[in-house]
Structures are given as C-alpha cells and as structure tokens.
Subunit: 481 residues, 2 copies
C-alpha cells in the first residue's frame, strides 16, 4: 500500500484514465457516426474511485449514471398529474434532507435560513447585463447586487468609484471573468498557475486560446515559487497573467501573494506587464477575518479577486462575486466591432435571487457575525485534525485553512454516505459553519469503524488464503476431527 506522502503526490500527478475518451477521436470522420454516451462513461467495475468534479478527475471515472425522471408526453387529468408531481417532490425533499445532514466533503455552508425571502421566488428576477446600468427590465435586484458589491469593495479595499464587478453564477464564472480581463488587457500574456489550481483556470486558458504554464506545487499545495521565478525569467519577453490561489480546492493551500509580487519585481516585470487574478473560492471569504493572515487587497497591484457565495456564506444556488478595477474592464466592454454592447459580464441574463441571498446573509450576520463563523470553523478544523491524529490517522492541515486532508477511506459506501471529495488516495473534510463538534465526533467514530472493518477484512483474507494453502498442501491442523 502507498504511504500517505506518496498518495498526496499521486493526487497531483496521476494521468487521466483512457476511459474518458481519447484525443484522436475528434479527428475521425464526421459522417454522423454513432458515439454512445453510456458506453463511453462506463469504467471497469473493479475500479471504485469516486469522482470529484470540482477538482481534476484523477483515476478512473465511476459510472454512477444518473437516470432521468420521465416526463410523460401524453395528456393526463390535472389532478393525476399534480398528485404524481407532489409525490415525487415529497420523496425528493426527504432525500435532500438526509443528504444535507450527512455532508462533509464540499466547501458548502449548508446552514442557512432564507425563510424571509421565500415569497420572492414568485418573481422572475433577472439582472441582465451590467449591474451598474439599469436595463428596462424592471424585475431586477440591482440595488441588492450593488450593495453586496460595495461591501466586497470595502473588504478588499478599493474605492466604490474605481471598481467594477458583478455577482456570478459560481466560482468558475469569476475565474473565467478574471482571466478574460487579464487577457484583454495583456493580449499576448502567458497564464501562470500552479498544478493544484482549480481546473476552471486551465479551462479558461483553453477557451481563450492562451499559452499557459502549469507550475509545480510544494508539499503544502502552494505554488513552487522557485519554479515560477524561473519560468517568468524564461518568458520575460511576454507579459504575465498569474492566478494566485487563496486556498486550493483539495488542500486549502494559500499562494503567498506578497512573494509572487516580489518575484515579479525581481524578474523585471513592471506593473503594466502583469495581471494578477486571485481565486478566493472559499478561503478568500475567510482570510480577511483572520488576524495573522496576509491581506488580499487592491492596495497591492492585483487585477481581480473572485469568491464563491454559496461556499462560506451559503445559498440555495451556486453564486459568487468578482471584483476588478473599472479601468481594466473597459477593455472588455468597448470593442465596437465584436461586442457592440456595454455588457462586460460573461453571462447576459443573470440570476437576480443570488444577490438577495448574499445581501440578506451579510446584513443579518454583519462583519462581526462572519468573523465569529470563521473563528469557529478554524477551531473546529483543528479539533477534527486532533481527533484523527489521536486516533492514529495521518492528516494534513495548512495553517491558513479549514480543510483537513487525510487518508482516503477504502469503503465506497462510507465515502458516499459522507459525500467526501476524494482525489487519488486522499480525502478531505472542509469544516464549514454547519459542522459542529457533535457531527465531527460522529464522523470520526464512523471513519475509524470503517477503517477497522477494512483492516479486519484484509486480515481475514490473509487467514483464508493461508487456510486454503494449508488445505492444498494437506499439512495443517485438522478441524474435522
């Protein structure tokens, strides 16, 4: 069996399985030949590696083919239809409640109560286009959106008049936007990001046809600063667009922004020749509330910051915030020939409920309330680590992180019960505000029991093999006497 260190290494390096589809496929003739979806998705039954779609998929993809609920084409009486619908929804709601209760793996805060906003789902709220220019569509929530954006501008220290931003559909959209703004300002720029960066950053590079450099990582998951420096030096002729991780997906590692800025200075990149996007996903929302943490601030020469809204704050729908400098965004919205539009967002129509959720949470909790949530999560993460350590489980917890990394459980049922995000041979628990000590206790007890079951089964297999070997050779003790 692998050591824990080897597993951590593996998680960042193992290649994509062949089962996913081979590149050659796209060059074959296009004469409407049939390529069947389920055949392609099927992975060997012997492999049971769980997919974590928010990080690079590693190892084989298990099938878990989602079956669709059939929608009947024929007409049925209203009453019959509604009865069937209500039954389906009731069953579904029970599943949601159970799955929400047993959840440890993803960085989502599932503890929220938006009861006060419930009546608003009767309206089709759409903030289409720019948050700062009202469109004629009156059913919008721009006043809430701009309020939330102003709050984040204060958090990241940029004047209201100097920023531009919007509430996105998720962390990926914030990253896609940040990298696009970087490319539009430095069209010949090379993208630099560490190999443990969220995959949306490299997705952006591919979408935008940018040259990208994948930089190695340190054991902690931070970018390898020496390698970054060497790479910047080697490509000194072209501008740099750098993604700085404020908490990686798997290990919660924070790239050191100040050190990256020092490296840029040392390698001769002036401020007009680099653009930094900070991917704050989860931790970008927590770090400003930690006293000892380095500051992500627009007082430093960064270009954009994005965070998710459904992660630390929690929301029924995925959402996020991206803030950039207004002068940067002009490059996106001003091109007559192509865009012919003032809309600098990635999406056109935009979910108007998301700003309401964020506004509500920020207003209700306030700065002090969020700070309390952050402190409790950090404390509970250390409690989880200590519990696992004391129980003899190898763990890792970065100083600036609420993501506890540990050996991947071997029982698939356990992984699925607790909805653990796994990569290679490691798993993690992200200690969010909805996870209290009682839940951690239940989880650790369950984890140790699962390990014991696996260990006992392994030992028993050895015994069974030995017994079989003895029986074959005929020289064992005879139980049949």
């Amino acid at each position: 069996m692998q050591t824990f260190g080897e597993a951590v290494e593996l998680a960042s390096s193992c290649p994509l399985p062949q089962a996913v589809g081979d590149v050659a496929e796209r060059h074959i003739s296009d004469d409407l030949l049939k390529v069947l979806r389920t055949e392609r998705l099927k992975a060997p039954d012997t492999l049971q590696v769980a997919p974590y779609q928010a990080t690079p998929v590693c190892g084989a993809i298990t099938h878990h083919h989602a079956a669709g609920l059939h929608i009947p084409d024929e007409e049925r009486p209203e009453e019959e239809r509604m009865a069937a619908i209500n039954e389906t929804i009731q069953k579904y709601e029970k599943k949601l409640a159970e799955r929400t209760k047993h959840h440890m793996g993803y960085p989502y805060n599932l503890d929220f109560d938006f009861g006060a906003l419930e009546g608003l789902t009767r309206y089709s709220i759409n903030n289409l286009g720019d948050p700062f220019i009202e469109s004629n569509y009156g059913v919008h929530s721009r006043e809430f959106e701009v309020g939330v954006l102003n709050w984040f501008a204060r958090l990241w220290e940029i004047d209201e008049e100097e920023y531009w931003g919007y509430i996105t559909n998720c962390g990926t959209e914030g990253n896609l936007h940040g990298i696009l703004v970087g490319r539009e300002n430095l069209p010949d720029g090379i993208l630099y990001a560490s190999r443990e960066t969220h995959y949306s950053i490299f997705k952006a590079a591919r979408m935008y046809r940018m040259d990208a450099v994948k930089v190695s990582t340190l054991e902690t998951g931070e970018i390898d600063y020496a390698e970054l420096e060497a790479s910047l030096k080697a490509n000194a002729g072209r501008p740099a667009i750098i993604n700085v991780n404020i908490g990686t997906t798997v290990k919660g590692a924070v790239d050191d922004l100040d050190r990256v800025l020092d490296i840029l200075k040392a390698t001769g990149y002036t401020e007009d020749r680099f653009y930094i996007h900070c991917d704050g996903a989860l931790f970008g929302m927590m770090m400003p509330f930690l006293k000892q943490a380095p500051m992500v601030t627009f007082r430093k020469p960064i270009g954009s910051v994005s965070v998710s809204g459904h992660k630390f704050l929690g929301a029924p729908v995925p959402c996020g915030v991206v803030i950039t400098r207004f002068r940067h965004v002009l490059a996106l919205s001003s091109d007559v020939e192509y865009l012919n539009s003032r809309d600098a967002t990635i999406m056109g129509s935009r979910n108007g409920h998301a700003p309401l959720y964020l506004w509500y949470t920020l207003t209700r909790k306030g700065y002090a309330g969020i700070a309390r949530d952050v402190e409790r999560c950090m404390r509970n993460a250390h409690t989880l680590k200590s519990m696992l350590d004391q129980a003899g489980v190898k763990t890792m917890l970065n100083e600036l992180s609420n993501t506890v990394v540990f050996e991947r459980p071997r029982e698939e049922a356990f992984v699925r019960k607790w909805q653990l995000a796994c990569e290679g041979d490691i798993a993690h628990v992200v200690v969010m505000p909805n996870i209290d000590i009682a839940k951690l206790e239940e989880f650790v007890q369950d984890y140790i029991s699962s390990r014991a079951r696996v260990a006992i089964a392994a030992a028993k297999r050895v015994a069974a093999d030995a017994r079989a070997a003895e029986a074959e050779s005929g020289d064992g003790d005879d139980d049949s006497a």
Copy 2:
C-alpha cells in the same frame, strides 16, 4: 423625422456611442491611474435612449445608475437588524409585483406558480459538473435534469444515447457552449452569423479568438442568404461554424435552416467541414409546436441547439438548455493537458433548482399544454398587430413570430412603465403566455394616448414659436386689447 423603414435599418447599423469608453484607453500606462466608473457611465442629460442590454446597445447609454442598498459594518441587535431587513424586503416585494404586472418588452413568461417547490429553497442544490456522471455531492437534482434533457432530446429528435447536454444558466451560456463545441471540433473554423444575431455569439467569437463574419440581414431580420453564400465561397479553404437564429432578439426572425444547408452543399462544404449551432432562445421552444413551421431536428446535420428556460416556459431564475451530439462534446472533455477533467460544461457548479422548475412545468403542462400556450401567444400577437394597425401605428410581425415590432414611443416614462425593449427607433412587445387580450388593450390605449400627448406638445411648440416670432415682429393680433 425618420421613416419607420429607416429606423429599422438604423437599429442594426448605428455605432456604439463614444461615451462607452474608447479602445485607446486600454493601451495607456498601467500605473494604477484612477478611472472612475460613474464618470464613464454618464451620458448627456439630453439623450434619453433606453438601453436594452439583451441586444447590442445602440445610441447613447442612459445612466440609470443603480444605487446599492448599504450593508452596515457595525454590529446591531438581532431584532433591529431583522426589522430593517423585513421592511426592505416587503417594500421590494411590492415593487416586484408592480413591475411584473406592467411588463411587455422582454420575452419572459412571468406567469408561473412553483408553490409546490417552495420548500426546496432550504437546500443548496448543485449539479456540479456533468449531468450524466454523479459527483459525490449528494444534494443535487440530476434525476430531474436528465429527465428534462431527455424531453428536449425527443423534441429535437436525437437518441438518448447519442446526445449530450445540460441545463445552463441562460441563453448566453447555451450559445457560448455551442460555439465552443463548434470551435473544438473545427479549430480553424470561421464563425458566420447575421448582424441581428444575439450579441452573445460575437462575444463568443471574441472570447474564443475566432475569426467571425457578420453577415447582413434581410428586411425581415433573416440572414442575407446571398451574402452568406458569397462569403462561404470566398472562405472555402476553411471550415464553417454557422449560427442559425431560431428567432432573433429584436424582430423574432427565423433563419431558414434548410436553405443554409442547401447553400453549404452548393458551395462544396461536406458535413465534416461545417458545424451549425441553432440559437433557439425564445422561439426554439415554440416552433416545434407550430404545424407549418420548418423543423429544427438532429436528423439534419446540425451540431447543437440551445433555448432559454425562463423565456417561454418561465422560471424565477434565468436558465436554459443546450443539446449537442455526444461525439462532438468529446473534443471538449478529453484534453488531458489543459482540462484534466471530465467536465464539459462552461460552469462548474450549476444551479440545481433550475432543472426542478423546468421539470415541473413540462410535467404539469405536458406537450398539449405547451402547444396551447404557443397557439394563444401567436393569436394574441396578431391581435396586437391588428389593434396597432387599426389605430394607425406602423408595425411588423414576422410570420413565425410572437414579437410585434412598432415605432418607438417618444415618452421615456411610457417606455419605462411598460419595460419596453428598444433598439434605435423601434420597440417591440413579445406576446408571452402571461399577456392576455385585456392587457394588450390597456397597453394600446396607453400607447396611443402617449403618442397623442407627444403630438399635441409638438404642435403647441410650433404655435408657441409662431407666437413668439409674431410678437418680435409686432404685427400679430393683439390679445391684450
């Protein structure tokens, strides 16, 4: 004053105003100089052209600066906070109700009742990644999503096993995906789309660094087939990625798919050298239910179709559906070096409530219910056109459309009251299922009154000028006697 024909022409040709920002700006030095947002957005007070952010902005952008609701930083007692929040929400809900009632301009069906799903907003439902591969995050709605996708696959005649698709955040995401799939399969392809195409298509070309050809349009708003043919001939050396509009945004014009296919054949493009994306936004959801309409179907050699979910079907959040051939999507999900992921969506985290809204509406209404909605909308669109015609207003209504185009009202207050989408000198009403004859009657009466006020004011200005001229020359009739 312009003629109506001139205005229609103008709407498609007028350049972006200088106020929006000039291209030169992005090349200036990057020494953190201040560029202030509101200064940039301010348009001359005399210009009152309303922006329609879902189409290319034309004419000056009016300011309409959205003010943010302040989120206090200081701590306040729970009771005080909740009282303030509830007061804000109650006031906001009244605004939403009023704005929903007076709405004519955007193709959104505001008539829906998702009361049966209300309890589900307590859950953070997220279908992250591929709809067909379950992730370990258990709080998802893939069974509903795949059910909806299968329904659309039946509608557009593609086998369940041969399609791939997902529920998007909006029409734009469907277009971004369709064009990306086209580019990944034909990396050297040139994008062709008509000038009245939704701006997201040209946004895609710019994002993806593709060469794009903007083809002229006929009077109806359809693509100019002769110009398309000439352009395809001139670029015969490179593959073609063609966007076909199933209803343009402003005039509801439907590009003739069969004619485009004939042109491709005539100009020597074999099926492996073109990719067709059908932008179905609103009308792609209506056309299959009209007997005389040409079919959008995967039995023809098209690559992808997208529609919006919040448009014809109606939903509290913007959403949409994109369907493509599974074999095409392999090009997106298979590249190890860049993506290292099985996720072929544009977004990573995906709103899990949107599939529930679509599933609910499709199941409740059924095929027959949707057909009835479509028929009523088409009938009411003709009623609106006849009412305006009879009242002496110039109108336009394409045969396959529920979008009635007419002269732009001159009173800004009227435009804003009814939330009309305007472009240049034309406005339109999209007759959606929530608009009945009584509402059309109210609207037309209001429109004619507004026109009369403007006409009377214009006549009075002439009289006042004449009176002033007389007074100056001293030879008028003397009222002071």
